[in-house]
């Protein structure tokens, strides 16, 4: 199997972060706004949003979307 080192690392990282019960991408997009607002304010993440944090640690696409949302929110705050 010719996976690159970063790809092997990525596989180990997602396996490590895998939990028996996880939310999917559709649930994530509906709740990630609250998670982003709390992070923007530097507030702690409540237990109810830990599933979002876990999902972002294993889902590259949702993580990318979250990072862009964060940029957009910061931009809104500047206006």
């Amino acid at each position: 199997m010719s996976l690159s080192r970063p790809e092997l690392q990525k596989m180990l990282d997602v396996v490590r972060a895998t939990q028996p019960v996880e939310i999917d991408c559709d649930v994530c997009v509906m709740q990630v706004g609250e998670f982003a607002e709390l992070n923007l304010l530097g507030k702690p993440i409540p237990e109810g949003l830990k599933a979002i944090e876990q999902h972002l640690s294993i889902c590259e696409e949702c993580r990318e979307e979250y990072e862009m949302l964060f940029v957009a929110l910061r931009n809104q705050d500047c206006h």
């Binding site: 080192r5 180990l12 997009v29 706004g33 607002e37 949302l69 957009a72």
Partner: protein, 200 residues
């Protein structure tokens, strides 16, 4: 006006009829335009001519999903998150639509037999050798395909399309694959600390 509305006012206006709704839709469009521009500007595959389509598609999706807004964030934040999902899904589709899933997975050089034959290699951490073996022997063909395609960075929407399944079904396959791999590594005696190694 856009910034003055609270969540209740947004939802109320967007679910109304006539001028109240028209104004709210106009304001939402303007807000998405600004939000998406800021969010996408650093992407090399984004071209400004796509922006209007992204905003229009996002508006449709948001207006159709109003009942899913749980009022746990600002409405503007929720709407922007949905719009980013819509835009990135389209950009990812464009990037991956001509890539064959079968070929991508085949190009990893991975076959079940290769994993079974994987022997300890002094230059390869034992956990990687174990991972090869487990992927080959413990996962179904579909689970292996999803896992490898995701690790290769292929868009989930495109993997689902080429496998003929829904995005939710794909996520379940991926989750099952990761769980089996994790269980296999634990059964082989690898602890969470050992997963945390950095591969050099």
């Amino acid at each position: 006006m856009t910034q003055d509305r609270d969540n209740y006012e947004w939802i109320n206006a967007l679910q109304a009829e006539g001028p109240l709704r028209e104004t709210a839709v106009f304001d939402l469009r303007e807000m998405l335009l600004i939000g998406l521009k800021a969010a996408l500007k650093s992407r090399s595959d984004f071209v400004a001519s796509l922006l209007d389509d992204f905003v229009q598609d996002s508006l449709v999706r948001i207006l159709r999903s109003l009942d899913q807004f749980q009022n746990r964030s600002r409405f503007a934040t929720w709407a922007t998150a949905v719009a980013i999902r819509v835009a990135l899904t389209e950009l990812r589709k464009r990037r991956w639509r001509d890539v064959s899933l079968e070929r991508l997975v085949a190009d990893t050089g991975f076959e079940p037999s290769a994993a079974v034959e994987a022997t300890p290699d002094q230059e390869r951490p034992p956990i990687i050798t174990a991972m090869y073996r487990i992927i080959g022997s413990n996962l179904t063909d579909k689970q292996r395909t999803v896992l490898l395609a995701e690790i290769k960075g292929m868009a989930q929407e495109e993997i689902a399309r080429q496998m003929g399944c829904s995005r939710n079904a794909l996520y379940k396959l991926s989750h099952d694959a990761r769980q089996r791999l994790k269980q296999g590594l634990e059964n082989a005696g690898f602890t969470a600390q050992e997963y945390a190694i950095t591969i050099h």
